[in-house]
Amino acid sequence: MDKADPLTEQTIWDTLRQIPDPELPAINLVDLGVIRKVEVGDSIRVELLPTFIGCPALDMMRREIMDKLAPYGEVEVKIIYSDAWTTECISEAGREMLRQANMVPPPRGNLIELPTRASRLTHRLHASEAEIIVACPYCGSANTSQENLFGPTPCRAICYCHACHQPFERFKTV
């Protein structure tokens, strides 16, 4: 690097913002909220949070980050399991990117309260997550239903619009 132009964390963040999510290319890694921390020192250290622990895109994300940052120096990508990515980590801009791709962003707030240890009844989950009514991203109708809480990737659920007869996806709350 040119000494007059030292590498800043901002440069790294800006570069990471150019990396699309491998399975949801409409959104980039920074707006998805999976980059927990960037440190620039002797090497570049990036902390990455998995959306779902078993997400197979994780290794792809790590490789993309290594490749994209390689021109700036030595890169270390650390996957962090001790801190949870939640759908609240998606930025406002990121939510808009999802909408543009006709994917319903997760509802704001921790919709499903984490039940206490002492008395957890599973039907509380049923009442909240399974019965979320979302507006169709194509026509705006609220006459939609959830077809499957499980979708093409761990973080997506499948819905159907009864007004325009279009299946669509929504991002699960986690």
Binding site: P50, F52, I53, G54, C55, P56, Y81, S82, D83, A84, W85, T86, I112, L114, R117, R120, T122, H123, L125, H126, E129, A130, E147, N148, L149, F150, G151, P152, P154, I158, K172, V174
Partner: protein, 277 residues
């Protein structure tokens, strides 16, 4: 956090025990991909299986951080009798496919669903107890796992209601599956060696055997409304089991279901130990 060597050994063994439960159930449930009763379930059951294998990997990563080993080696390079999952998880619930049409073996979706739901009710208690572990990497990881497992409980509960309440045949299948599963499910509560030591160090808030009573309470509240068979009764405040648990899994003793799965899981690794994709 630096752990005394015997505590570290106990924690590694405990992490492998959880990881093995998740890996084995995840592997068995993934066999439903493509043959579940409906396409939605192909997707759902595959997602659940994928989550469990992710959680297994996480446990092996935590164990590897302690032992200086490698998470993949824990998953694929251990001898057959050094896996510590409960035996109920290792049995196949799908037939072995034969292109000629004579598929081998017994299959029942009800059994797969009942095993998964009742295991998830156990796992949920275990995960919750671990979120307060004094070993912070474990506590943090389990918070994350807990957020994902809510979807498993939702899925299981919906199927439980469907099977128990919709037709005489679905109910009969659930009932038969439960009778077959109880001994093995009760075997989930066998302790790993060293759990007492871990509890003294507050790494475990609750030993595996101590999860039995809250699990029975939960399961009873699932069985009672449908008058389904249940493996215990209350004598005063205490639960008394009416069925002998099938144990040994936590000591590495397994049945024929494991021979078959172990051979399949380790096949590629043993042919091509350095293979990557």
């Amino acid at each position: 956090m630096t752990l005394a060597p015997e505590l570290q050994q106990a924690l590694i063994r405990y992490l492998l025990t959880i990881g093995d439960d998740e890996l084995v159930l995840g592997s068995r449930d993934s066999e439903w991909t493509g043959v579940a009763p409906m396409v939605e379930e192909d997707v759902a059951f595959s997602s659940l299986a994928q989550d469990e294998i992710g959680h297994a990997r996480l446990c092996y990563i935590l164990a590897a951080e302690l032992s200086g080993g490698d998470a993949d080696a824990f998953a694929f390079l251990r001898p057959r009798d050094q896996f510590y999952h409960a035996r109920v998880l290792e049995d196949r619930t799908t037939p072995i496919y034969d292109p000629e049409g004579s598929h081998q073996g017994y299959t029942d979706w009800a059994k797969a669903v009942a095993r998964r739901f009742l295991y998830d009710l156990f796992d949920d208690l275990r995960v919750a107890s671990l979120t307060v572990s004094a070993y912070e990497p474990l506590a943090g990881a389990m918070h994350k796992v807990q957020r994902e497992e809510r979807y498993h409980l939702w899925h299981g509960e919906a199927w439980w209601q469907t099977l128990a309440g919709s037709s005489p045949e679905s109910r009969a299948r659930l009932e038969r599956s439960l009778r077959e599963l109880w001994p093995g499910l009760l075997g989930l509560f066998e302790e790993a060696p060293g759990e007492g030591l871990l509890q003294d160090a507050a790494i475990l808030s609750t030993r595996t055997s101590q999860l039995l009573a809250p699990w029975l309470e939960r399961v009873q509240s699932c069985c009672q409304p449908y008058n389904l068979p249940f493996p215990a009764h209350k004598a005063g405040e205490q639960w008394q089991l009416d069925i002998e648990p099938l144990q040994g899994g936590r000591q590495g003793q397994h049945g024929p279901g494991w021979d078959d799965l172990y051979a399949e899981m380790t096949m590629v690794r043993s042919m091509e130990p350095e293979g990557v994709w």
